[in-house]
C-alpha cells in the first residue's frame, strides 16, 4: 500500500475514489431535495475558508469545514426568517463569500496563492496526509449518514409526515448540512471550489435511471462517481488535460449515457427484481 502510494497518479486515484464514494450518497440527497444551488453556495463559502486558513496559518480542512458549516447553518436560519426569496439569499451569500474570500487572499501578501488551484483543485498534488484525511473524514460522514438515514430520507420525502410520525427531521437536516460541509472540507484541495458541486450532483443524476430504490441510487451514484474519477484521471493523463475538469467531463459522459437508449439495456436487466 505504502509502495503504491509513492506514485502521484496512484495517490490521485485513491483520493478521488474516496471523495466520490462519499460525494455520491450525499449528492443524491442534494438532488432529491433540490439543493444544488445550496451546495454551490456552501462550496463558494469554502473559498473564504481557504483564505482564512492561510491568514491564521491553520489547517485548511478544519477552517473550511467550520466556515462551510457556519454559512450552511446561517442559510438555514436566514431562509426561515427573511423576506428575500430563497434563491436570492443563496446567490447573495454565494457570491459575497466568494468575493470576500478573494479579497482576503489579496491581503495575504506573504503567501503566494495559486488561485487556479483553489478554484479547480490539484488532485495530482495529493499527499498521503490528504488521503488519510479523506478516508477518515469520509468514513465518519458515511457512518453518520447511515445513522440518520431513515429520518433524513423520510424528511426528504415529506417533512411533515416525518415529524408527525415521531421522527426528528430538523435534527437530521442539521446533521446533513454538517456532512455536506465535511465533504467539501475534505475535497476542497483535491477538487476545488468550483467543481465540488459537480462531483456531488452529476453522479447522482446519472444514477437515477439505473435505480429503483433510494438505497440503490446511493450506491450506484458512488460507483459512477468512482468510475468518473478513474476515467477522468486516465483521460487527463492520455490527452494531457487538466485533471479536475476532465473528471467532471467523465461524469457528464456517464450522465449522457444514462439518458441515451444505450442505458435501456441496463435498466431492463434490473426491472424484474423483487
Amino acid at each position: 500500500m505504502a509502495g503504491l502510494l509513492d506514485d502521484f497518479f496512484m495517490r490521485a486515484l485513491v483520493a478521488g475514489v474516496g471523495i466520490a464514494i462519499v460525494a455520491g450518497p450525499l449528492g443524491c440527497f442534494i438532488v432529491w431535495r433540490r439543493l444544488a444551488f445550496f451546495g454551490d453556495t456552501i462550496s463558494h463559502a469554502a473559498l473564504l475558508g481557504v483564505a482564512l486558513s492561510l491568514l491564521i496559518n491553520s489547517s485548511t480542512t478544519l477552517v473550511v469545514f467550520l466556515v462551510s458549516a457556519f454559512v450552511a447553518l446561517s442559510l438555514l436560519l436566514i431562509q426561515k426568517r427573511t423576506i428575500l426569496p430563497a434563491d436570492s439569499v443563496l446567490s447573495l451569500l454565494s457570491h459575497s463569500t466568494l468575493a470576500l474570500g478573494l479579497v482576503v487572499l489579496g491581503f495575504i501578501s506573504w503567501v503566494r496563492v495559486d488561485i487556479m488551484g483553489v478554484l479547480f483543485g490539484d488532485i495530482l498534488a495529493t499527499s498521503v496526509t490528504d488521503i488519510l484525511i479523506i478516508y477518515i473524514g469520509g468514513l465518519t460522514a458515511l457512518i453518520a449518514l447511515a445513522i440518520i438515514w431513515r429520518p433524513l430520507f423520510a424528511a426528504t420525502v415529506d417533512r411533515e409526515i416525518a415529524k408527525a410520525e415521531g421522527m426528528n427531521p430538523d435534527r437530521a437536516n442539521i446533521i446533513f448540512v454538517f456532512l455536506i460541509a465535511c465533504v467539501i472540507a475534505i475535497s476542497i484541495e483535491i477538487i476545488g471550489v468550483l467543481l465540488i458541486t459537480a462531483m456531488l450532483i452529476i453522479p447522482a443524476a446519472a444514477a437515477r435511471r439505473f435505480s429503483s430504490s433510494p438505497e440503490q441510487m446511493v450506491v450506484i451514484s458512488g460507483l459512477i462517481g468512482s468510475a468518473s474519477v478513474i476515467g477522468g484521471l486516465f483521460g487527463s493523463l492520455t490527452w494531457d488535460t487538466p485533471s479536475g475538469p476532465t473528471i467532471v467531463v467523465a461524469a457528464l459522459a456517464c450522465f449522457l449515457v444514462s439518458l441515451s437508449p444505450l442505458a435501456n439495456i441496463l435498466v431492463l436487466k434490473k426491472a424484474p427484481h423483487s
Binding site: 420525502v157 411533515e160 415529524k163 408527525a164 410520525e165 415521531g166 435505480s211
Partner: protein, 268 residues
C-alpha cells in the same frame, strides 16, 4: 398495541399566528382511542392547521397541544409531491417512517385495494391510487392515532364510501383514534363520533346530530338562499327565525361572534 385511557392527544385554547394574523385560535379538542373526530369548515378555516398543531408539526403560538408519549401516529397530509429524481416504489414508501413486516404491508395494501401496485413507482400512480397508497402507508404501522387530511381527494364516489367504511373498520380493528378532515359533509356526518366545525375558531362541536342542529353549522354549510354571502361573511351574531325575522346573538358566552372581538373584515 397499547390502549391508553386518557385522551390520545388534545388541544387547549390553541392557536397559530402568522404575521399578526390568527389562522386559527382558541381551539379545544380531544381525541380518544376508538373515536373518529371530524374537522369540518370552509377553505382557510384552519382545519389542516389544527391537525398540524395536534400532531406537533406546528407548535401553537398560544394555548397547549399535548400528546400521549410514544404515540404511534399515521398521517396523510393534504398534499405530498414526489420529485422525478426520487426512486421510490410503493413497497419502499410503506417503510418510510419505520420498519414494517412484509405481512403488514400485504395487509395495509389489501385493505386499501392496492396490492397490485406494490412494485410500482410512487410517481407513476394516478390520483386515486396515490391517495389509497397514502392511506395504506398511514395504517401500515398499526397507529394509535390516525390523522387523515382530505383522504378522499381524487377518489370516485363509490371509492369514497369504501374509504369511509375502511376508516371505520380500521378504527374498530386497531381501536385507534381518528382525526378526519373532509369537505364531504354527508359522509362525514354519517361516519363520525364527534364533529368540530371550524372557521378560524371552533364554531360548534359535538355529536353529528347536535352539530347539524346548530345555527352556526347551518350558516356555514346549508344556507340555501345566500350561500356565498354566508361563506364570505359568516358573522352569525344573530339567528334567522323561520318567518325571516332576526333574533338576538346566538351564543353570547363565548363571544366568538360578537363585534367586540372580531375586527371589521376579519375572515370570520
Amino acid at each position: 398495541m397499547f390502549i391508553p385511557k386518557s385522551p390520545l392527544a388534545s388541544l387547549d385554547a390553541a392557536g397559530i399566528n402568522r404575521g399578526g394574523r390568527w389562522l386559527v385560535r382558541g381551539v379545544d379538542m380531544t381525541v380518544e382511542s376508538g373515536e373518529i373526530v371530524s374537522l369540518i369548515g370552509p377553505n382557510g378555516s384552519g382545519k389542516s392547521t389544527t391537525a398540524k398543531m395536534i400532531l406537533g408539526i406546528l407548535p401553537p403560538d398560544e394555548g397547549i397541544a399535548s400528546r400521549y408519549s410514544h404515540l404511534r401516529v399515521g398521517y396523510v397530509p393534504q398534499t405530498v409531491s414526489f420529485d422525478w429524481s426520487l426512486p421510490l416504489t410503493v413497497d419502499r414508501f410503506m417503510k418510510l417512517t419505520g420498519r414494517v413486516s412484509s405481512t403488514d404491508i400485504d395487509w395495509a395494501l389489501s385493505e386499501t385495494v392496492t396490492s397490485h401496485l406494490r412494485r410500482e413507482e410512487m410517481r407513476t400512480l394516478s390520483g386515486g391510487e396515490f391517495q389509497r397508497v397514502m392511506l395504506a402507508r398511514s395504517i401500515v404501522r398499526k397507529p394509535d392515532l390516525l390523522v387523515l387530511d382530505e383522504p378522499i381527494q381524487g377518489i370516485d364516489f363509490t371509492g369514497e364510501i369504501a374509504i369511509y367504511e375502511l376508516i371505520k373498520r380500521i378504527r374498530d380493528e386497531l381501536h385507534c383514534g381518528v382525526i378526519l378532515i373532509s369537505h364531504d359533509l354527508h359522509v362525514v356526518m354519517a361516519a363520525t363520533d364527534q364533529v368540530i366545525c371550524l372557521n378560524g375558531h371552533v364554531c360548534c362541536s359535538g355529536t353529528p346530530d347536535h352539530v347539524a342542529s346548530t345555527a352556526a353549522y347551518r350558516e356555514l354549510f346549508h344556507t340555501s338562499e345566500d350561500q356565498t354571502h354566508a361563506l364570505y361573511k359568516h358573522r352569525h351574531d344573530h339567528r334567522h327565525l323561520p318567518d325571516g325575522s332576526v333574533t338576538d346573538y346566538y351564543h353570547k358566552s363565548d363571544q366568538h361572534h360578537s363585534d367586540s372581538v372580531s375586527p371589521p373584515n376579519s375572515p370570520d
